[in-house]
Amino acid sequence: MQEEKKSLIETRDLSIGYHHPRHGQKVLHSNICVKLEAGEFACVLGPNGSGKSTLLQTLCGFLPRLSGEVCIAGKQIDKVSNRQLSLLASVVLTERVTVSNMTVFDLVSLGRTPYTGFFGRLKSRDLELVTEAIQSVGLEGFEERLITNMSDGERQKAMIAKALVQETPLIVLDEPTAFLDLPSRIEIMHLLRKLAHQHNKAILLSTHDLDLALQMADKVWLLAEGRKMETGTPEDLVLTNEFRRFFEREGILFDNDTGQFTVEKQKVKTIRIVGKGIEYKWVSRALARRGFAASDEPFSGFQVEVKSDGKREYLLTGPDGKIQKLRTIEDLLTQLEHEEATLLTE
């Protein structure tokens, strides 16, 4: 049992891009060698225009590859027919599907198309699978709802159910969370991760939600224009500074400690912050926004003491030693600004 984990996507020296009728080929990326295995949840990350969609569309056969090889479940993609491919890979695309009079059940049943006969009639096994898939994406009770009357998040779940009933070992999603609000994004990512692990499917998606991808993806593929693609476990990519290299621009910093982006501020002033816990963290953030770098050293400038036991209080000590008691961070910031101003005029 050496081949227990099957590679569902494997590329060798793949080049992707476009054939342009007049300007010849436009190569976006070349020499791509990636692998995706069953049970893995992978995210493709990259700025706009970095070729995420092109990569995904090439991998599922919508766009011709420029050179190299793409193998889906061990089969070369241009040697399998459309029909065979439909049994290997299913897709969910960015575009909103709006078809009037189509119910969730109708939509999900279309996923059985590769298995149904000439007129597309559903057998009892198909009906079972459709019901099951609708349940596993959490849409039970929505079967008869029209897809035009659903929120974007619910519709995206229905599309995922459609991909599920297609019973393919690989599911490719092109920005499935693009139109969604934050809670729905988390929900969808969570759902996909669960499906990958429970059903042992390989799931590949492109997204702009870096922090979600960092938290949930087993593998991350990083793309940027004019750079070699990097792949790996998200934590490794953070530690080797790949995230920084791919996403930092002027004024935007990637914080390797928190895995988040921060907007670069000119932190010239320092302030001493004393305290602990969550209040300490949020006070530091608020002060950082105002251009104060936190420091633990005692010095003669401003000092904030955060009291987090029982009553929440913020004690602001000025350079003159005067202490102010403040209830909220907002008050603290106002007071600080005020004292700074008086200090300057004096």
């Binding site: 459309n82 078809v99 009037s100 279309l110 035009t148």
Partner: protein, 356 residues
């Protein structure tokens, strides 16, 4: 009424209810088409004439067999064919404004007819409109030739244009070009010929003789039959071409077959009945409003029945006593149909998303 029905009937029962309702309605309208007209013929006499009883009144027998029966059958074929064509185009292009004429096929037919009516009249020195039966037949042939020419062009282009939206634009452009040529021809033609062209353009179910029926009937039946075989690709095409391709459908073949099916129906019907507006666009919308489904397994038989009913009804109105002779069929279909469609759309709940 729709709400009332939905309360008591399940989706499937509702479908059966409306399908049988439409079938009964079509049958009734068919019989009325044979009975009513400038001369009212009693039901039993109609049956006698149909049964081939030679003892009855000769003039009644001739009216039923030579005029009303072919006219009603033509209406049935045209209604069903155009409605199916419209449904297929709306699905293929995912556009609620698409109809069977969207590919420029009707304009092609128009151009063919214009060439025959206007140019032949000029060269031969005889207005073809005076030639009676030969005139009719050559008009039909010309229309079919024009329509086939455009259809061949569209089929050829559809192999090279990957994008349906581009194909749609090309179809519309071909239509404009054909209309422009017709305009030029009209400008240089005799009044009688232009009049004949205008008459053809208004559409009619009454010009099809039994010998022409032997062409119209098999072709339209073939087209309708073929549309049932396209149910699966049509259903998947609703999601767009990429999803359809991913579901294992051969897109270019399906698209070719859908265009061919619609093209055949539209070209033949336009050749014999003139460019009948509206039916192909409106009937699918009416049907979707009634059946509330996107499944072509239901929609195709439904639009066929609805198309038949609407065409027979329009034909009946056009022939009402008082309208000397017969009203042009296009005037009737559009005048009844437009308000009905607006009413359906306003009543529908899906105002926000027109979709397909």
């Amino acid at each position: 009424m729709q709400q009332f029905l939905e309360k008591y009937l399940s989706g499937r029962q509702l479908t059966v209810f409306w399908l049988s309702g439409l079938a009964v309605l079509s049958l009734t309208l068919f019989v009325l088409n044979l009975i009513l007209g400038s001369v009212n013929i009693p039901f039993w006499s109609v049956i006698q004439a149909l049964a081939g009883d030679l003892q009855m009144d000769d003039s009644w027998r001739l009216i039923v067999l030579k005029s009303r029966l072919p006219q009603a059958i033509t209406a049935i074929l045209a209604g069903a064919g155009l409605a199916v064509g419209g449904l297929q185009m709306q699905t293929l292009f995912r556009n609620p404004l698409a109809g069977p004429s969207i590919l420029g096929i009707s304009s092609g037919a128009g151009l063919g007819v214009a060439l025959v009516l206007l140019v032949a009249g000029k060269i031969g020195g005889v207005a073809l409109s005076h030639l009676g039966f030969t005139g009719h037949l050559s008009v039909a042939l010309a229309a079919f030739a024009g329509a086939s020419l455009v259809l061949t062009m569209v089929l050829f282009l559809s192999r090279h244009l990957k994008d349906n939206a581009m194909l749609l634009i090309v179809g519309i452009m071909v239509g404009y070009a054909a209309s422009a040529l017709v305009g030029i021809l009209k400008f240089y033609s005799m009044k009688e010929d232009v009049h004949a062209y205008v008459i053809w353009g208004l559409g009619s179910f009454s010009t099809v003789s039994w010998s022409q029926m032997s062409v119209l009937f098999p072709v339209v039946t073939l087209g309708l039959f073929g549309s049932f075989f396209l149910v699966k690709p049509l259903n998947v095409m609703l999601l767009g071409e990429q999803y359809a391709g991913n579901l294992g459908i051969n897109i270019s073949l399906s698209r070719l077959l859908i265009i061919l099916c619609t093209g055949l129906l539209t070209a033949t019907i336009t050749a014999f009945c003139g460019p009948i507006a509206f039916l192909g666009l409106a009937v699918p919308h009416l049907t979707k409003g009634l059946f509330r489904t996107s499944d072509h397994k239901v929609l195709i038989p439904a639009v066929i029945l609805a198309g038949i009913a609407v065409a027979l009804f329009s034909n009946l109105i056009a022939r009402l006593p008082g309208f000397d002779g017969a009203l042009p069929i296009n005037a009737v279909t559009s005048m009844i149909g437009a308000p009905v469609v607006i009413w359906v759309i306003l009543k529908g709940k899906n105002l926000r998303t027109p979709g397909v």
